[in-house]
Point group: C2
Chain length 116, copies 2
DNA sequence: TAAATAGCATAGAGAGACTATGGGTAGATT
DNA sequence: AATCTACCCATAGTCTCTCTATGCTATTTA
């Protein structure tokens, strides 16, 4: 490969933690399952690379927002299942609020409606 | 201060170029004016720090999306006015499309509506 | 037995935002 | 005359987050 692709991110930077936390509100899941869930719910628009996902999960663990335990999957494989903790649920609320506020603000800048 | 505040960004990373380009569709502006415009239109939710703004303007210049010329402001000061070029207008369209697509996808993940 | 799928995890690079810093000018106030 | 406030540009260094690349294991399927 002669030159490297300056690839655009598959996600909006800063939103991954929120997406993971939200996914875990439905049920405990392992990493692979989280990535699949986000991909499917977003109609393949959002792709969570493993190199983004696992570091993010480590962050969430360190923050005490999720806990993890090794279990067997339905397909008989070892996997680490992540469960939302109450602090994580609270954090999700904070991030959702901030995100929606930002999106609304960006919307105002992007709209052509001039105030003055 | 024993530990450093891990401050959240004042912007959604990746959206600054788009916001600047959009701002310049209204009229040529200098850097300071661009920052003020974004701040005001967003009701103070989005704050463009100088250390983010000027590097971003350099990027836009390098990409050929804007051009710059030194002029005098209404308040009789030297300032560098940035004007949108046609390539920049085209780029804005691309970024708007991608952004809206991502926001829609995130919305699907964040909604509670389960498909299956 | 080879390949595909399911899984976890880290190292290194790059992009983009932030803090901090350094300039400088015009006009109003003390 | 000095100082303050608003206006204006720009870079260096740091941090966070995502990506690519890599390495490992285990199970199912072709």
């Amino acid at each position: 490969m002669l030159f490297k692709m300056a690839k655009k991110p598959d996600l909006l930077p800063g939103t991954l933690d929120m997406l993971i936390l939200k996914t875990l509100t439905r049920a405990p899941l392992h990493g692979y399952g989280i990535a699949l869930s986000i991909k499917r719910l977003s109609d393949d628009v959002l792709t969570v690379e493993e190199g983004s996902l696992y570091p993010a999960l480590q962050r969430l663990l360190l923050q005490g927002w999720v806990k993890a335990e090794w279990k067997m999957t339905e397909t008989n494989r070892r996997a680490r299942f992540y469960t939302l903790r109450s602090a994580g649920r609270k954090q999700l609320g904070v991030e959702l609020t901030q995100f929606e506020q930002m999106i609304a603000a960006i919307g105002r800048v992007l709209s052509d409606a001039q105030v003055a």
